[in-house]
Structures are given as structure tokens and as C-alpha cells.
């Protein structure tokens, strides 16, 4: 109690927060053990908040543990590595740990059981420039292991004159999760080595490690490990209050700075790293180990709750078997109970975001009671760490008044679930906010699409006008040539007639242009369409001619294609649902056949290559 009172001055409470049952004792007592090496691993390629990594290997390739199997694609992305040695057996869309259940590309690796490492070398970061360090971390697949999987290399560099505060997020505020707790208890010195690297890289003036007060052993271990640090570093014990592990909440707790949504904490002189990420940074830089495993808490309805250092890509089923899944588990939460989600199946492979797997049973998680009406009691507003008024946002979301919801800062909601946790009417408030957000995103997307379509349409109209005009000009030019020829034959009557025709044609063209301008008025300003017309008329005819020869052809082709499409569409619409389905199936079958053929071809090729290689090897052996 004394210690707590003494520490009270060093943190700055945030508004709201809740204290759900912690459920940490189940797993916090068991030391980290190495996870199983499963027969096959399903490694998702999309393991950062940015672009999906690009596969570097082919089916049939033999890879070593730690070998890069997919490279970062673009700035906001991170590489993916083989978690163990073995053979690539598939690169295909598979189910991943995501609530949607949608398929995403994964590399399936058949483990050879040998667990052979690639050659690992220490990275000489002290003599490397910022760019090299960033590239190195990206290629080591270092992403935020707190669950957000933000590529860590993007957080390094940027602040020129150094950082005020480097915050190490070790709060671990979600119930059930103890992986960071165990990591700190057992590997504190390595974490502190990682902190030293980050402190150097970021030129941080002070380092604050935020830990909730329900992890006294971790606090002691970290305090012992930081002893003798040559820079200002402190372990700040914060009260156990969810969501103090939210980056913004922790920054507020430790530095009293509030980071608004849409603003980077670096702009306020603060940068925040999860404690497990710091550990992987240390392993990557000092030991040349890419992120191929992570500590994951296996808990809930299992025989042996605990913490496992599991290979990325380990199927959840293998992890559950390792922890002794009980028969009555009905589903599995990936992450904590407050912000995690139910996985679509246990065949999905562990990703870098997976800090916890909770086996659910109806005893442990009783079904939620039915929703009752909101009585505006304001409990949600009291609990909201973003200081929103959730009861109003709920009302706006329910009445589809999304503009108003946005106005009231809906997008500041961090979806922590504190509001839904306290609601006496059992309203799933977060779901309403997710719904509102997705509706707003969808509306913005469709607005963008509509804008694009309108632009395309306007351009097409303009092009068609131009083509017509050019055709007219060509004809006029031809007529003029004829007329000249006629004039040279010195027939004044002919010349007069030709001049009349020309004048009439010019009048017609001008009239047409005017009409077009009037018609185009609704879509675009009149002079926008009219201007090029007059301009083109004034332009030399010869210059326009070569273009106009090509364009009508093209336009004709496009028109034909469009007509064909329309006909097809009409046909499809005329078809009965059964016919449609049949046709669809036919199409699908065709595609599948083609794909199978391609795969077979590829496999045959690969087999041939392998055979050739094997022969060669045999030959050299003999």
C-alpha cells in the first residue's frame, strides 16, 4: 500500500476504464515453454497492418528456419520468415485469424522435424545509418506484437532532435493474457538490452516502462534489469484498470500527454513500443533472429493453461492440443476477452498478432442476456477512456444518423469495449460503433467510385464529341481539296457552290457544338466543352487528321464491345435462376479446370527440375 501511495504521484489517470475479473492466475504461474513443432504450419502472408508480403518461394522449395519466405511490399509492410525448416507445400488462400472468416494467402510449410536454422549474424547497428536499420527490421519482420502488428521500422527515425519519452508498453491490461508478464519475469535482461538499442536509435531522453500493479514479479524483474542503465529509465507501476495498455491511455498515464486521434504520438515527442516487440528487436539485431515465434497465452477451458513460445503458423488446433483442450470448449477467442475475436476455425495458423488464445465454454463465458432499451444512465460515458458519449453515438448509429455520429467523434472510439462491459441494458455498444464506422467507410468508398464514374463518363462524352468534330473536319478538308481541284478547272459556278457548301457545313458544325455545349452544361461548364471545339476548328486540319484516323476505329471497337456486353447482360437477366446457376457453375468449372491444368503443368515442371537436380546431385555424388 505504501509503495502504491509513493507511486501515485508518478502517473496521471485517464478518464473512465473498467476492472473486469482478471483471470491471470490461471496462466501467470507457468513459465514459458517451447511450443510444439507441428507437422504443417500455415503462415499468413498478411502479418502487418500494411500490404501483404510478397512470396519469395515456390511450392516444392525447401527452406531453412528463419529464411525469408515473403518480402515486405512497400513501406508499410514487413517480411515473413519460415518458422522452421521444411518444404513449401502450398501457397494458397486459406482461413486466417480474422473475425471475417475470409480467406487470405498463406504459405503452408511441411516441417522436416530437423528445425535447421539459416546462418545467423549479428547486425552491426551502431555503424549503420537509419535507413539500413529500418530496412533490416523490416526484413526481420518486426511488427508490434501487442496485437496491432504495426511495422516497427516505421517508428524508428523521424524525430530529428530526439524523442522526449520512449514508452514501453508492458501494462497488459486485458484479462487472461499473461505472455508479457512471463516474458518480463524470465527475459528481463534481454528486454532491457532491446530498450537500450531503441533508446539509442530514437535518441530518447527518458524511458518509461508502464506495468500494471497486478504483475509485481515482472516489476521486480524489470527493476533489477534496469539497474545501472546509463540513461533515465523507470518502471512506472500503474493501477490495474482496463484499458491502460491502450497506447494512448498508457502515454497519458505516464506522460500526461493526450494524443488525439489522427495525430502521431511522435509529434508530441513520445513513442510507444510493446515490451514483446522490444524483445524481438533485440533478438533480431543482436542474434540475427527474425520474428518466427512469439509467446502466446493458452488459457480458458484447457487442462494446462500457460504460456508457450510458439512458432508463427502453428495451427491453433496444435496449440490447443498442447495445452489440453477440454471437450466442452465451444469456440476460441483470439486475443483478450475485451477486444479479441472468435476465430473461424482451429485450422488457422498463429499470426504475430496472436498474444492469447482462450478456449471458451458456456461455464466460463455465459451467454449474454438479451439487449434492453438504453435508459441513458451514462455508465458508458463514465467508462469510456476516449471520453466519448457512447449513449449518443449508439442513438445516432441506430437511427443511421452517421453524420452526427462522426461529428461527435465516432472515430475517436478505440473499440475497447468498456462501454459494453458496464451497460446495464446489455447493449453491445461496440457493435453499433463498428457498424456506424463501416457504413461511413462504405459511403465514402461508393462516393469515390461515383466520382470516378462521373469523371470517366464526362471524358467519354468529350472524346465522342471530339471524334465527331474531327470527322466533320476531315470531310470538310476533303471537300475543300475537291473544291480546289474544281477551282483550278476554273468553273466559277462550281467554286461558288463549293463555298456555299463549306459555309453551310461550318454553320452546321457551329450549331452542333452549341447544342453539345448546352447538353453538356449539366455535367460540365458549357465553355469547357465548347472551348476545345472552336479551338480545334481554328487548328490546322492536317494536324488533326492522323489522330482521327485511329480514333473512330477504336471508338467503333469500344462501342461494339459495349453492345456485346449489354446483350450478354440482357441475356443473363432473361435467364432463370437455375440457368444462371448452371452457367455460373460452368464458368467456375472452366476456371478450375484451367487452374488445375496450370498447376499440373507447374508441378510437372517442378518435378522435372527436381529430378534433373537430383540426377545432377547423384551424378556429383557418384
Amino acid at each position: 500500500m505504501n509503495a502504491r501511495a509513493a507511486l501515485a504521484a508518478t502517473f496521471f489517470p485517464f478518464h473512465g476504464g473498467v476492472h473486469p475479473p482478471e483471470h491471470k492466475d490461471e496462466s501467470s504461474g507457468s513459465p514459458i515453454v517451447a511450443g510444439p513443432i507441428p507437422a504443417t504450419l500455415v503462415v499468413p502472408l498478411h502479418q502487418s497492418i500494411g500490404n501483404m508480403a510478397k512470396a519469395l518461394v515456390n511450392v516444392g522449395d525447401v527452406v531453412l528456419k528463419g529464411q525469408m519466405i515473403a518480402a515486405a511490399d512497400g513501406t508499410v509492410s514487413a517480411a515473413v520468415h519460415a518458422p522452421t525448416s521444411g518444404r513449401i507445400v502450398a501457397i494458397s488462400p486459406q482461413r486466417v485469424p480474422h473475425p471475417s472468416g475470409l480467406l487470405e494467402y498463406c504459405i503452408t510449410l511441411e516441417s522436416d522435424g530437423a528445425d535447421r536454422w539459416i546462418e545467423r549474424t549479428r547486425f552491426d547497428w551502431r555503424n549503420a545509418d537509419g535507413r539500413a536499420i529500418r530496412d533490416y527490421l523490416r526484413d526481420m519482420g518486426v511488427v508490434g506484437l501487442g496485437g496491432a502488428v504495426f511495422p516497427s521500422h516505421l517508428k524508428i527515425g523521424g524525430a530529428k532532435d530526439g524523442l522526449d519519452t520512449l514508452v514501453i508498453n508492458a501494462a497488459e491490461c486485458e484479462p487472461f493474457i499473461t505472455c508479457d508478464d512471463r516474458l518480463m519475469r524470465e527475459r528481463a535482461s534481454q528486454i532491457v538490452e532491446g530498450i537500450k538499442i531503441l533508446q539509442q536509435l530514437l535518441q530518447a531522453r527518458e524511458v518509461l516502462i508502464g506495468v500494471e500493479d497486478n504483475k509485481p514479479e515482472a516489476v521486480d524483474a524489470m527493476r533489477a534489469a534496469i539497474a545501472g542503465c546509463e540513461f533515465k529509465i523507470d518502471v512506472v507501476v500503474v493501477p490495474t484498470l482496463y484499458p491502460s495498455g491502450g497506447a494512448k491511455q498508457l502515454i497519458k498515464l505516464l506522460t500526461n500527454k493526450e494524443v488525439p486521434s489522427g495525430v502521431r504520438s511522435t509529434d508530441l515527442g513520445v513513442q510507444c513500443f510493446n515490451v514483446a516487440t522490444v524483445y524481438t528487436i533485440y533478438r533480431a539485431i543482436e542474434h540475427g533472429e527474425p520474428v518466427i515465434s512469439r509467446v502466446v497465452t493458452l488459457t480458458g477451458n484447457v487442462e494446462r493453461p500457460g504460456n508457450v513460445d510458439a512458432l508463427i503458423g502453428t495451427p491453433i488446433a496444435d496449440l490447443l492440443a498442447f495445452a489440453g483442450n477440454k471437450a466442452d470448449s465451444d469456440s476460441y477467442i483470439y486475443g483478450g476477452p475485451m477486444m479479441g475475436f472468435e476465430i473461424p476455425g482451429t485450422d488457422v495458423g498463429l499470426s504475430k498478432a496472436g498474444n492469447c488464445i482462450i478456449a471458451k465454454s458456456s461455464g466460463l463465458f455465459p451467454p449474454k442476456p438479451a439487449e434492453m432499451p438504453c435508459i441513458r444512465c451514462g455508465k458508458c460515458a463514465d467508462a469510456c477512456p476516449a471520453e466519448l458519449q457512447p449513449m449518443d453515438l449508439y442513438w445516432f448509429g441506430k437511427s443511421k444518423n452517421f453524420g452526427k455520429a462522426q461529428e461527435r467523434n465516432l472515430f475517436d472510439c478505440i473499440e475497447c469495449g468498456a462501454c459494453a462491459y458496464v451497460c446495464p441494458s446489455n447493449i453491445q455498444l461496440v457493435d453499433y460503433f463498428r457498424f456506424s464506422k463501416s457504413e461511413i467507410w462504405a459511403a465514402e468508398k461508393s462516393k469515390k467510385a461515383a466520382d470516378q464514374a462521373r469523371e470517366r463518363h464526362e471524358f467519354r462524352q468529350f472524346r465522342e464529341e471530339r471524334e465527331k468534330r474531327e470527322k466533320a473536319e476531315r470531310l470538310a478538308a476533303k471537300a475543300a481539296q475537291k473544291h480546289e481541284a474544281a477551282a483550278s478547272s476554273a468553273d466559277p459556278a462550281d467554286a461558288e457552290r463549293a463555298a456555299k457548301i463549306k459555309a453551310a457545313m461550318e454553320r452546321a458544325a457551329a450549331k452542333k457544338a452549341e447544342a453539345a455545349a448546352q447538353a453538356g452544361e449539366s455535367a460540365a461548364p458549357a465553355d469547357a466543352t465548347a472551348a476545345p471545339v472552336t479551338e480545334a476548328v481554328a487548328a490546322p486540319v492536317a494536324e488533326a487528321a492522323p489522330v482521327s484516323q485511329l480514333d473512330p476505329e477504336k471508338a467503333e471497337r469500344i462501342r461494339a464491345a459495349m453492345e456485346k456486353r449489354a446483350a450478354e447482360k440482357a441475356e443473363q437477366e432473361a435467364m432463370s435462376p437455375e440457368e444462371k446457376a448452371a452457367r455460373e457453375a460452368e464458368k467456375k468449372a472452366k476456371i478450375e479446370a484451367a487452374m488445375a491444368a496450370a498447376a499440373a503443368k507447374k508441378a510437372a515442371k517442378a518435378a522435372e527440375a527436381a529430378k534433373a537436380q537430383g540426377d545432377q546431385a547423384d551424378g556429383s555424388g557418384a
Binding site: F14, H15, V18, P20, P21, P99, P175, K248, K252, E258, V259, P260, S261, V263, S331, I333, G335, P337, M338, M339, G340, F341, E342, K360, F365, K368, P369, A370, M372, P373, C374, I375, R376, C377, G378, A381, P385, A386, E387, L388, Q389, M391, D392, R408, N409, D412, E415, G417, A420, Y421, V422, C423, P424, S425, N426, Q428, V430, D431, R434
Partner: protein
């Protein structure tokens, strides 16, 4: 689909409502002790009428009846309304009031959580506007007059309008303390003379001062249980007492003390149980303060200068109208945007 959070705190709405009803129990006990069994009769009648109306309205609206009838909200409404009725009002009055408050003030607006006006106050206000005479016929508390009605006579009066032979209602009736002060002052009686009447105790009306004290006790329980925000009762009582205090200081011969205002009529009931109704009030912290303060002010004005003895019901209903407006203009700044809003305010 099941989505996060997978945990919820088990504080169902029913428990909230149950606790509010529980907080009323001490006052009901004291009320019954001072005024007789009529109080319990009114509460029972109101509860039955409210529940039946609630079930009927739910059926009409195709809502599931059981979860909503048992949510406790109709019971709380019925009790609050019954406690503001004269204990010896005829039975049909409370029944009509209960039916109207549930059907008109609650379900016509969309049911629980959607009503603009406090249903209990709507029921009460309709009756006092429509039947002012009957609604101001209060029996004197026990011990004030030589004669009092026993329980069977009370029941007979409420249900049949018959009194024991040789007894007129006027013999046992008395005005409420607030009413007495108002009418006597109009007859130019001096304040000290008025307070010599046996109707008055040490700070409020005899009997009624204990009832209001019991409301205060229940209110403190609600505060302790964190079911009501402390800002509302504190602000309401502070403004009511503050305004009363100013008038009292300037002219003690014509204006009663803040203590009298706090411990008379529906001040305490209103402070903890009616002004705090979350559905019909603002939800922002500042909005709640403004709301409660204006109710306090209006209550005083209606009590002292208006046509009705007590002003809580009308003050609450008037301010219910303003609640959405107050909410709109008192939105607090969200996390990380406090400076921004200040800046925006400075610019405008």
C-alpha cells in the same frame, strides 16, 4: 455472431430498478407511520394499474411482454407517482394517473428509454391540473388533529367515499405545510403565527419532515451505489436552498428558510428520485448541473409565486423539454481534443 467484449458486468437493468425501489422503502415506511395505510393502498393500486397498462401496451406494440414488464421501470414510476399523491385520494384517481403515465407518457413515445417527459410527473401533473380540489385534499398526519381515521375507515374512504357516521372529511383534512404557508401569508398572517400551527415541526411539516429525511437516506444509498450522479441532487438542493436563503435573508417575515424548503413537499423526493431520472434529463456532466439548477430555481418560483403549492413536478416537466437542447450545447471535449475545442471557441 458473438463479438467482443466477451465479458460483461452483470448489473442488469432489473437490479438498477430494484435498487431504486429499495431506496424508497424507508420513506414509504415513515409515510405509512405518519399518514396511515392509505399510502400503501395508493402504492398497490398504482403498481397494479401500471403493470397491467405496461403489459397491454407491450402487447399492442408486439413487444415481448415478460422481459419488459419485469424490468422494474413501471414499478418505479408507479411508486414515485403514488408517493406524490395524497394518501387518501379516491382509488380511481391513482389508477387513471398510472394508466396515463404508462400509456401516454411512456409508450406513446416509444417505451422505456424513449420518453421525453418523466412519466410519474406526467401522471401527477395531469391529475393536479384536472382535479385540483381532490388532489389537494390531504389528511393531516397522525397526531395533529384529535380525530384520525383507522385503517378500515381509510380503505372505505378511498374505495367508496364513505366515512364513519358523524365524520366529515374536512374534520380530518389539512393543507400541506407549503400550502398553509402560502395561503396564510396571503391572508397577511405573520410567519411566526403560521409556524405556531400544530402542522409544523421543527424544520418542516410535522411528519413530513421525517418523510423527507427518509428520502434523503434513500438518496444517499443511491449515491453510494453510484446509481445517480451526485451533481444533480447537490445542484438542485443548492439552488433551491440558495434562492430561498436569499429571499429569507432579505425578508424573513415573508419568505421561509432554506431548511423549510428542503424538508417540505417533494424537494428531497425530487432531488434524488425524480430530477435524477436519466431518460428524461441531459447526460453530459455540465448539462446535468444546468438542468438541476434550473429545476431548483423553477421549483422555488412556482412554490412561492406560482399557483400551485409545490413546484417540483412542473419544474421537472418544463426542464424535460430543454434536456436535448442542453445536451447538444454541453458536449464535453473528447480525449486528446481538449485544446482544440478551446482554440475553436476562441476563434469563433
Amino acid at each position: 455472431m458473438n463479438t467482443s467484449p466477451f465479458f460483461i458486468k452483470p448489473t442488469p437493468l432489473q437490479v438498477v430498478m430494484f435498487k431504486v425501489a429499495l431506496a424508497l422503502v424507508p420513506a414509504i415506511a415513515v409515510y405509512t407511520y405518519s399518514f396511515g395505510i392509505g399510502v400503501l393502498v395508493q402504492i398497490t393500486l398504482a403498481t397494479i394499474a401500471a403493470l397491467v397498462t405496461e403489459a397491454f401496451c407491450l402487447k399492442l406494440r408486439n413487444y415481448p411482454i415478460k422481459p419488459f414488464v419485469t424490468d422494474g421501470s413501471a414499478i418505479v414510476t408507479a411508486w414515485l407517482m403514488a408517493l406524490s399523491f395524497p394518501p387518501l385520494a379516491p382509488w380511481w384517481m391513482i389508477v387513471v394517473a398510472a394508466v396515463l403515465s404508462i400509456a401516454l407518457a411512456k409508450h406513446m413515445y416509444g417505451g422505456l428509454g424513449q420518453n421525453t417527459f418523466n412519466p410519474a410527473m406526467v401522471g401527477f401533473a395531469i391529475m393536479i391540473v384536472s382535479f385540483p380540489a381532490q388532489m389537494s385534499r390531504w389528511a393531516a398526519p397522525f397526531g395533529v388533529l384529535p380525530q384520525s381515521l383507522d385503517w378500515s375507515a381509510q380503505l372505505s374512504w378511498i374505495f367508496t367515499g364513505h366515512l364513519p357516521a358523524g365524520l366529515a372529511f374536512d374534520a380530518i383534512a389539512s393543507a400541506t405545510p407549503l400550502d398553509t404557508v402560502k395561503t396564510q401569508l396571503m391572508q397577511h398572517a405573520s410567519m411566526s403565527h403560521i409556524f405556531q400551527s400544530p402542522l409544523f415541526g421543527s424544520i418542516g411539516g410535522i411528519g413530513t419532515e421525517w418523510i423527507t429525511a427518509a428520502y434523503l437516506l434513500g438518496g444517499l444509498y443511491l449515491l453510494w451505489q453510484k446509481l445517480i450522479p451526485w451533481q444533480i441532487p447537490v445542484t438542485f438542493l443548492a439552488v433551491l436552498g440558495g434562492v430561498a436563503g436569499i429571499f429569507h435573508l432579505v425578508d424573513p417575515a415573508h419568505y421561509t428558510s432554506p431548511l423549510f424548503h428542503w424538508f417540505s413537499g417533494a424537494a428531497m423526493l425530487g432531488a434524488f428520485f425524480i430530477v435524477t431520472d436519466p431518460v428524461t434529463g441531459p447526460t453530459t456532466p455540465l448539462g446535468r448541473v444546468i438542468f438541476a439548477a434550473l429545476i431548483g430555481l423553477l421549483t422555488y418560483l412556482i412554490r412561492v409565486f406560482g399557483g400551485y403549492p409545490d413546484g417540483v413536478a412542473f419544474a421537472v416537466l418544463i426542464m424535460n423539454l430543454a434536456a436535448p437542447f442542453i445536451d447538444q450545447y454541453t458536449q464535453p471535449a473528447v480525449f486528446g481534443r481538449k485544446g482544440q475545442q478551446k482554440k475553436a471557441g476562441a476563434q469563433s
